[in-house]
Symmetry: none
Subunit: 457 residues, 2 copies
């Protein structure tokens, strides 16, 4: 005879606390930097379930099962990422079954989904991947629309406490959509939480914070804080408490208005959280509203500015492309920068590749050739080599040429002193170019962060 | 009367295992990304003491003390960072004393050092900082030459096991020198550890794992595992044991050779760890070795491929730039793609912008205009809109045109079915282009991951 399976445990009480587990030898050994834990912590915090602990564990079935049971004794919700791959070192499924005193069974639906995933890419499912369809008998497989690893949901009962466990695939582009579409909607925070972020470009974090003044007091309700990342300063507004939703919303709106009163001209976007807002999106939206087009001419950024624009869905409405004039020859041949501006042909007194003259010539040349309303250009010293005493690493000229009433061309160039390594300098340069165009379209002519010189032409 | 203090515990056995604790609300809440844990893990691994767990805890005295005691039951060495500042939420000192059943005492030396640190900056020590001189009575203060927070060393005895605990300040520029000058020299690794990673491009993780076969058995020595990230599958080889160094090296070499026997044509780089290796770097190196130059012509990637190349320091030796032909007009005007290939002018039977014809014309046009040895082109449907039944989102053609003996032009195009969102499709497309060039330069003509069609021209 077979025993009837033990019934699944259910949890209906709110989730008041959470823990995050990251799983993989490459993480405990420090070979890969764990960014999932931070992302999940931000999501949980945003929902009003503050994480109380993160744990990173190796590919060790017993250690993972122990951690599930240990945390379930005092925590309401565990979010685990990683260890759901098809290979022998992917042990999360087994560890979860161990922690639940359960065994694994093949989920027919999950297997179909994995097979379909491979089929849609013109491949047969390798036998190895079949193991990914396993789930604890009292657990649930969560569909993965972006990869082969289904997630898992199991409710553990340990020492009389009931804890929800969600296991998600490690790759962020699989983890994030599964979190958003399946896990987050299933959670039950105990308190009212509201978050809002106003994203600014052009001013420094301390300037923005100074303008906030009393709004940033530690006992203000809602709380106001700032975060800076790559030139974008986000003002975060957060309410957490027991007020009913409508009152919380009114408090949030009052603070948002006060923030806009103080730093309005710098605000390019407003959204629920500080994660991943793109300045390029605001630029594309604004160009679309103006029915205008943009082209780019890039030197030290090598295509990054164009790539940021192309990253926005529907960018083709406003972005036609451009030129990567990485070599000086490309600058001359493709966008008609006069050879005399370069030291090779113009001699020692020529302004050189990193100069207002060249940046302006690139932007005007691109505007001409591409037949667009705006053209952005970037030329600079990204390092680590190539710096000189008058043009140290981090010196970047960004120019914007625009056709104002469809015919008259105006242009200006700004010099920035960027800090950081090659990657950060290139990123800052690309973002500063987007900031210049965004402020141009918004009609807000502000001095930008790290701007040290300006030439109008 | 006063009792004589309990004697300090000493540990003379080797350190066979380690755990890492990171401490701070800003970390558990996801407001700051924890990079100390990865750094410490790399240091420990390098010494031969593999970390078995990382824990991130909030500013909660009981939770930190619990973690010290829990880990001390099975781990030989705990490295903790953070929580040693002067404010009320810095609780590591107290938690460590709690875990050791000890009390805190002011360390006269440490207090002198803190006072001297302020004096050397022309300031008096604020009263607030005096608390940083506290240490458990049976503990040792560790001098901090780069800040005000002394470290702490305590040896815990829990359930008869003896565990060394080192608490280090959170700021990396204080933590790293204290680790290097005080902690690392005091550790006693028990085992020999070696790590190596072979990075492959072109094959899927399950194909690579299948080729590994018995090498990936859980009891193989050395251990072999795989990690996949953005199309790059890294084969990790790791020896940990009691063999003398020379024998460990021989075992590593034997396994490395066996891995190369099985997946050699896909290996583009080999290094001590999988951290941050860039395919673009391998391409730039290979081009430099061949004394050849490359240009790019990008449509759906919008500059990303060029940006990946420009991200490599010294890329200007081999990379001249290219064209972002995002619009069809740019494709025609800038790199001479015949208008008849597009449906707008060529009619419904024309191959269209996403086709082998257009990809090949882009690559050949760019090769012509830029006067280089190789030109890569990309055209595809990155989504979310724009897919059709015969060209669904994720359909990407990548072409490579090369001038073989300096004159004869050969070219070929490959069609890929990419998965994921717009960003991933663009990233995969850019990496596949790099992979095509890398394999071309290496003389390994393999079918690439997600490649579904090929046209030689």
């Amino acid at each position: 005879m077979t025993f009837p399976p033990e019934p699944a445990v259910h949890r209906s009480a709110p989730h008041r606390s959470a823990a995050i587990i990251s799983q993989g030898d490459e993480l405990t050994l420090g070979q890969t930097l764990d960014t999932n834990s931070q992302w999940l912590a931000q999501q949980l915090l945003g929902l009003g379930i503050p994480p109380a602990e993160h744990v990173t564990l190796p590919d060790d079935r017993a250690a993972i099962a122990d951690a599930f049971r240990r945390l379930a004794r005092r925590i309401d919700l565990i979010i685990c990422s990683g260890g759901l791959g098809p290979t022998a070192d992917d042990l999360t499924r087994h560890a979860l079954a161990d922690a639940a005193d359960d065994t694994l069974v093949e989920d027919a639906n999950a297997l179909d989904q994995i097979r379909a995933w491979f089929r849609s890419r013109g491949r047969e499912m390798p036998e190895l991947n079949q193991v990914q369809a396993l789930r604890p008998t009292r657990g649930v497989s969560l569909e993965n629309k972006h990869g082969t690893a289904p997630g898992l949901h199991v409710t553990l009962r340990v020492d009389g406490r009931v804890c929800d466990v969600y296991c998600l695939p490690g790759p962020p582009r699989e983890l994030a959509p599964m979190w958003e579409t399946i896990v987050a909607p299933a959670l039950r925070p105990a308190r009212t939480v509201r978050t809002l972020a106003l994203h600014t470009i052009g001013a420094g974090e301390s300037d923005i914070a100074a303008a906030m003044g009393d709004l940033m007091h530690r006992d203000a309700v809602p709380l106001v804080g700032t975060t800076a990342s790559g030139g974008i300063v986000s003002v975060r507004i957060r309410y957490e408490g027991d007020e009913p939703a409508a009152h919380a919303d009114a408090l949030m709106a009052r603070t948002r208005d006060a923030v806009r009163d103080r730093v309005g001209p710098y605000v390019f976007a407003e959204g629920p959280g500080p994660v991943g807002f793109k300045l390029a999106e605001a630029v594309v939206d604004s160009l679309r509203a103006h029915r205008q087009h943009v082209a780019v001419v890039e030197s030290c950024t090598g295509g990054m500015l164009g790539s940021m624009l192309a990253d926005v869905p529907g960018a083709s409405d406003v972005y036609v492309g451009g030129w990567i004039t990485y070599s000086n020859q490309m600058k001359q041949r493709e966008v008609n920068v006069p050879a005399s501006l370069f030291k090779e042909s113009g001699g020692d007194t020529a302004p050189g590749a990193v100069s207002a003259h060249v940046a302006l010539a690139m932007a005007r040349g691109g505007l001409d050739r591409a037949d667009v309303d705006h053209c952005l250009s970037i030329t600079g010293v990204a390092g680590p080599a190539g710096g000189t005493s008058d043009k140290p690493v981090g010196t970047v000229w960004v120019a914007l040429a625009s056709r104002d009433d469809g015919t008259r061309v105006t242009s200006h160039a700004r010099r920035f002193n960027m800090a950081g390594d090659r990657g950060s300098i290139r990123e800052w340069a690309s973002r500063s170019a987007l900031a210049m165009l965004w402020h141009r379209l918004a009609g807000t002519d502000v001095k930008l962060l790290r701007e040290v010189d300006r030439v109008d032409a």
